[in-house]
Symmetry: C2
Subunit: 400 residues, 2 copies
């Protein structure tokens, strides 16, 4: 099985013109640029013989007209603000290349994988039946607060039905994506066969102290919520390496001291903290460590801390047979220049994996730049990627 | 010498009605409420026989018409937003009570001691000749960015001359103020004779890292500016007690991680850090410690830190003869229920002290609440305060 790499690259470059920003793109979900790219995609699908359809949240699917067994392949087509040209677009154009090559593939572009709206994985969750009308009614744009129903109406999607994927139709789901890290690049490798997608466990740590004048309050009298937060974060930094897995990561993305003035002792501190791993056991160990450190903090500090779980996703393991097919293809096309590796970022594949076998392929990321207009992959690596994906998909269809 | 404590309390309660907010007041500098209180003050000054005048930055002075030697007494009349009824108002009404009692006192209300505009101590610095027209032209409101010249124009002050205090006219400056801490309350004491006003040294600590995706970047690859900031702040917390003085304080008022999103490793962190002491030697030791810890941080961390001094004020020591006069008055009126203590907060007295002897008297603060509408002092302590102030001022006039 071979894919037409030149056409695949030409498609990517054509799509990159819609919402172009410097060398990247700006296509936030349901923006005019995003809707233009969805319409463009439907025309492309029709060109390669698929039956295109857009649903009530903007999911675009192009259905293969022939008999099964079918594969589902794709990703998402909207971008983060002023972000890279590949990201989700790569997986959708890759899926289109599979269909063009004659494989029995339904091509899908899930809406809002990037989470411009706070529902999270809106399109893929809707497509597997994992989101309610209430949740859609309550969701808002994270940047400007626009209610999701209003945005859907403005995009002309109000009243359309939402599609439901039928697991019986598919043998599995393939998603190609840029790595969003430097593991492949650092090792001089060109293809990553993804073993699983890490789960993100997000927490809000809230410290309650007492707001006081920074001049009139002695160190002994203070209940400085910011200082308690700093001490706990320093403890986490020391203790997490003892409990984490080899690829675990943890991140403090925001620290808010209230009121945030130079001469006022913070009466409240709020920390956004998250960790990621592909193993539930490791995630549970990290949470237990976090809660133990919070307890120790409460014994030591004058400002109690509340640990609030915001979200605890389930890690998704990739299907072993699909991984084997991709590995065999990678070894055939790029011997010794590929590896198996987890995905540190979230992807629609983790949602789809809840209803069918799923697997992912990574292309290297130049300098690991992600969610920024400078994001890029060498064209020869993109071309190799589509060859491995097509060969892997054909191998998988051939087994069992 | 006795002051009319009942009239003094009645004045305070009358003033509290202007801009009343819950049990406190809201009189930001040059707001209609603030300007109303300045006009009210000028009428009060005339009532007690002073010659009132308002200058080009809103300083209000009521000059004693008789012969010297004169004292200057006062504080400020604007408030922090939604703040307490005493704060600066106490010192101005206290000064008015001295004039009413017949002492040769000029009463002054300096404008914007609270620093609504970023010039800092605008009124008192202007009155000692320590602020240029350029600085006034460049100053802005910290909350809404309004240029100071625009605010002065709106308040009807444009074009008025700015007053200059003549040190030759005064034997010294007295300022009464609420403690803004719990030292007196905790000890069951009722009067504080201030020994000096601590200086605030303010710094901005800027950490430069690399913004990356929190999923795709391993812990080893990261250059997390927020984590470097947390580690340095934890070090400061451990090391400062070794170099500080008995009443030193240090405060982190704000931590800003950039971009501040849950799934993005902060590429930049900015910390507002300050410390205060009454001794330059201690302040210099603390700064040396901060810079040593920053150097160690640079050796240890992947994110370099820049230590930027925002402001380094000079501590003001109170005049020993004035302190002795206040101490004798305190011992006479409240034997064993007073102490000498530094002021942790900044006051106009530290500016005035640059051109004449200055001293301050503290009343206890209930619960140490400051810059909040709940700020309060027991009425019996307010009454005692004005008696000690009047007696102390008379004793000081009698010496030398």
């Amino acid at each position: 099985m071979t894919a037409d790499a030149a056409r695949f690259l030409a498609d990517l470059h054509e799509l990159r013109r819609i919402g172009a920003f410097k060398t990247g793109v700006h296509r936030p979900t349901y923006s005019p640029q995003d809707m233009e790219s969805r319409e463009w995609l439907m025309r492309k699908m029709a060109e390669v013989g698929l039956e295109p359809e857009m649903d009530g949240v903007g999911n675009v699917i192009g259905r293969h007209k022939g008999p099964g067994p079918h594969l589902l392949a794709g990703s998402h087509i909207e971008s983060q603000n002023e972000a890279g040209w590949l990201d989700g677009a790569l997986g959708v154009m890759g899926a289109l290349a599979l269909a063009r090559a004659g494989l029995p593939v339904d091509v899908i572009a899930f809406a809002d994988e990037e989470g411009h709206f706070d529902a999270g994985f809106l399109g893929s969750r809707s497509a597997i039946g994992d989101i309610s009308e209430e949740e859609i009614a309550d969701a808002r744009n994270r940047t400007d607060g626009t209610p999701l129903p209003e945005a859907l109406k403005a995009a002309g999607l109000a009243g359309r039905p939402r599609m439901l994927l039928d697991p019986a139709r598919y043998k599995g789901y393939f998603e190609m994506h840029i790595e969003q890290g430097t593991t492949l690049e650092s090792a001089g490798e060109r293809v990553g066969v993804v073993t699983g997608i890490v789960a993100i466990w997000q927490f809000r740590l809230v410290f309650e102290g007492r707001q006081d004048h920074a001049g009139g309050t002695t160190m002994a009298e203070r209940r400085d919520a910011g200082l308690s937060a700093v001490r706990l974060l320093a403890e986490i930094d020391r203790e997490f390496p003892r409990v984490c897995g080899p690829r675990s990561v943890w991140t403090t993305g925001r620290i808010t001291l209230d009121p945030g003035a130079p001469s006022i002792i913070p009466g409240r501190a709020e920390v956004l903290f998250q960790f990621r791993d592909v193993s539930v056991e490791v995630l549970e160990r990290m949470e237990a460590c976090l809660r133990r450190l919070a307890q120790e903090s409460d014994r030591r500090e004058k400002c109690p801390v509340r640990v609030e779980a915001i979200s605890k996703a389930v890690p998704a393991l990739c299907d072993p047979t699909m991984m084997d097919a991709l590995s065999a293809a990678a070894e055939a096309k790029a011997p010794g220049q590929w590896r198996r590796m987890p995905s540190g970022a979230g992807h629609d594949a983790q949602v789809v994996a809840q209803i069918m076998p799923a697997a992912m392929l990574f292309t290297p990321s130049i300098g690991g730049i992600s969610h920024h207009w400078a994001e890029d992959t060498k064209e020869e690596d993109l071309a190799l990627g589509i060859e491995v994906l097509a060969d892997g998909a054909a191998r998988y269809l051939a087994v069992g």
